[in-house]
Every structure is written in C-alpha cells, then in structure tokens.
Amino acid sequence: MSRKLLIDILSALLVFLFIYTGISKLLDYHTFRRQLGQSPFITSYASVIVWALPLGEIIIAGLLLYSRTRLLGFYLSFFLLSLFTFYLIAMLRLSYFIPCSCGGVLQHLSWDAHIVFNIVFVILSTIGVLLHVKQIRTQSAI
C-alpha cells in the first residue's frame, strides 16, 4: 500500500469520526449541554465547550480534507483525542458520577471500550503525522 493512500485512508477515518461526533452533538444540543453541565471539572466552562467542541471537531475534519492543511489537521486530531483520553481516565479515577458527553453511537460504549477506542485513534493520528512529515520531506528532496 502506498504511503499516500495510507494517509488518505487515515484522514478519511478521522474525518468520519469528527464529522459524525460533531454533528451528533449539535443535533442533540440540549442533551449535550446538560451533560456538560453535570460533568465534573468542566461544569463552569460548559457554555463555551458546548459550541467550541463540536465546531472544533468539524473544523479539524475540514483541515483534514485538503492536503495543504492536512498535517495541521493530524496534529490537532492528536491533541484533541489525547485530551479526551486524559479527561476520560481522570474522570474514571477521580469522579463518582460520570455522564457521557460523547456523540452518537459512541455513548453506548463502556468506559474501558471508550478509552481503547480513543487510544486507537490517537495512534492513527500519530501515524498520520509521521507519514505526512515523511512524505513532505520526500517531496522536498525531489
């Protein structure tokens, strides 16, 4: 499999994830807002996060669509997914009540499955960054 095709597949997977979860959150705005309001650590920022998170996800998906902005998209995906994962782990360890603020079908996952799911996508973002950087170096060397 060529490096370019692999990058395309990785970005398509991340685009699917971010568009799906972003739109699901926006479609279920009121529920999402209530969940964030109940969520430990971020209750005071709920009114900002309720818009910033889904819009951020859609913007990252948009960056991943075009080859010029794709590297930035991979970096931001890595950052956001790592943040989600640390937040989940922190909540599981420190909080008594854990509402799931995840979009769409992901809210049916168990917490362990959710963490594994996030880690898999963090790894995919990392591979995307590495492959993209390698491709840019190869292209500039030619």
Binding site: D8, S11, F16, F18, I19, Y20, T21, Q35, Y96
Partner: protein, 72 residues
C-alpha cells in the same frame, strides 16, 4: 488531489448522513429498575432517570442489549 478529496469527502458525507439518520432513530425504549418503561436516547435516560453512582445498573434497552450507567 482529486482522489484524496473524493475519499475524504465521501467519509464526511457518510458521517453526516449516519449522524442525521441516527438522530432520526432515537425512539429507543428503556426498562428502568422500578419496572417502568421510558423512551429516549441513552444520554437523555442517563440524565433524567439515572443520576447517581456509576456502578449501579439503571436501565436496560428493550430493543437491544444495551445497559446504561455501568462503570466497569
């Protein structure tokens, strides 16, 4: 460039379609611990009926095997 756009755009369109279709199919019925049956998304049920500890099973989906409020 064209091929790349096609694949990523296809993923974006599929994701948007899946999210909207999922929203339209959200009339899941749930059996609560007090044997009452309520309708809604798992997130809504969790907020409205399942506030409390996460190690207690609170509701079981009647249309599938999904249970909510379960900290493993």
């Amino acid at each position: 460039m064209k091929k790349t756009l096609t694949l990523a755009f296809f993923a974006a369109v599929c994701a948007a379609g899946t999210a909207v279709a999922g929203k339209m199919q959200q009339d899941t019925q749930w059996l609560l611990n007090d044997d009452s049956i309520v309708t809604g998304t798992s997130a809504q049920i969790k907020i409205l009926y399942c506030i409390g500890a996460n190690n207690v099973q609170c509701a079981v989906s009647l249309t599938g095997i999904t249970t909510i409020i379960r900290k493993s």
